[in-house]
């Protein structure tokens, strides 16, 4: 698996977490597994790094959490709030613009 360029990846964990948690209620370990699955292992978050992002999103009101007892273990489940969904929409639009721009630039370079 390739190491992702940290500065270029800035904002990606937030986008991925919001996308996953917009439809589902998950805890940290599940989130990391789903990110791997959803990105075909192209993006691998440092597993412990997911927690400061989750806590920061929760502090910003984009996520909410609740404790649930599952198989005798208490886990903290996260889900996106309404504010989180609107933040996801704006982040997605931003990343699509960047993606389109890169596609365009790559295509021009190939045809040039």
């Amino acid at each position: 698996m390739e190491r992702n360029n940290p500065p270029f990846m800035s904002g990606v964990p937030e986008l991925l977490l919001l996308r996953l948690l917009a439809d589902d209620e998950l805890y940290g370990y599940e989130i990391v597994r789903k990110v791997r699955g959803a990105t075909g292992d192209a993006i691998s978050l440092g597993e412990g790094v997911v927690y400061p992002v989750l806590h920061a999103l929760e502090a910003a009101g984009a996520l909410r959490s609740r404790r649930r007892l599952v198989n005798g273990r208490e886990r903290v489940y996260y889900t996106a709030t309404k504010k989180g969904r609107s933040r996801l929409a704006s982040l997605s639009a931003h990343w699509r613009r960047i993606n389109d721009g890169i596609h365009l630039a790559l295509a021009e370079m190939i045809h040039a």
Binding site: G28, G46, A60, R73
Partner: protein
């Protein structure tokens, strides 16, 4: 990551100013995550040592985890952002409010506008500690300054704040606690008026300042001593 690594990470985060509730939760979640990673690797057939190594590697090392969490300013505590507010302003404001409440309580009990013997019959002899005025006096002289100074130490210990702030807070709380006092002037004789008298010796002519200094020093030593001793122990245990 071993238990000692989690403890060391917890200490690093607290010293970095991350709010204790975020630290507690982060450590608990990381510990849980580590358990899941270990179980996953073990179920795949790894030995205990290999499963432990893989779980620790995937979770991230102490320094990178600490750096990622400390890079989030929104997780910092208010005590880290405004230590002067917590260790200097808050004890002063709390002292003023509690001091005023004690004075009000004493006034409402009739001290100063009831003659001494009627008051003593109802609430007990004001000189005795087992009376309302005695208990209020004891709390004002010992309890309140100790609570304020001890509160500064407790907060600083919980948040691993740099020691200069609790030291300033404790000295301030001790001086204020020792220097501001009130007394009851009892009315004697018919139509006489008593009063509740406020006094401080922080200003000239500094009557009784030696007693105040000793009082403040005793409170400071009683609270800062155990705190600094505990802090030294924690620092030694982690190094």
């Amino acid at each position: 990551m071993h238990e000692s690594d989690f403890n060391s990470l917890k200490d690093a985060l607290l010293r970095g100013g991350v709010a204790p509730r975020h630290v507690r939760r982060t450590i608990a979640e990381l510990r849980d995550h580590h358990t899941d990673l270990f179980a996953e690797a073990f179920a795949r057939g790894c030995s205990v040592e290999n499963a432990e190594r893989e779980a620790s590697m995937r979770l991230g090392d102490h320094d990178s985890l600490a750096a990622q969490i400390l890079a989030r300013p929104e997780l910092r505590s208010w005590a880290h952002r405004w230590p002067w507010l917590v260790y200097c302003v808050t004890p002063t404001v709390v002292f003023i409010f509690v001091f005023a409440a004690l004075l009000l309580l004493l006034g409402r009990s009739g001290a100063g506008h009831t003659d001494y013997s009627s008051y003593a019959n109802r609430w007990g002899s004001p000189e005795s500690l087992w009376s309302l005025p005695g208990a209020i006096r004891l709390f004002r002289v010992v309890g309140l300054p100790l609570l304020l100074a001890g509160g500064c130490c407790f907060l600083a210990g919980r948040r691993r704040t740099a020691p200069r702030w609790p030291i300033v807070g404790v000295i301030l709380a001790s001086i204020i606690g020792a220097a501001f006092q009130f007394d009851v002037c009892w009315p004697y004789g018919a139509n006489a008026h008593g009063a509740l008298c406020l006094r401080t010796n922080l200003f000239p002519p500094f009557i009784g300042i030696t007693g105040t200094i000793l009082h403040a020093a005793a409170i400071s030593v009683a609270t800062l001593g155990p705190y600094l001793w505990w802090r030294r122990g924690v620092t030694r245990a982690l190094s």
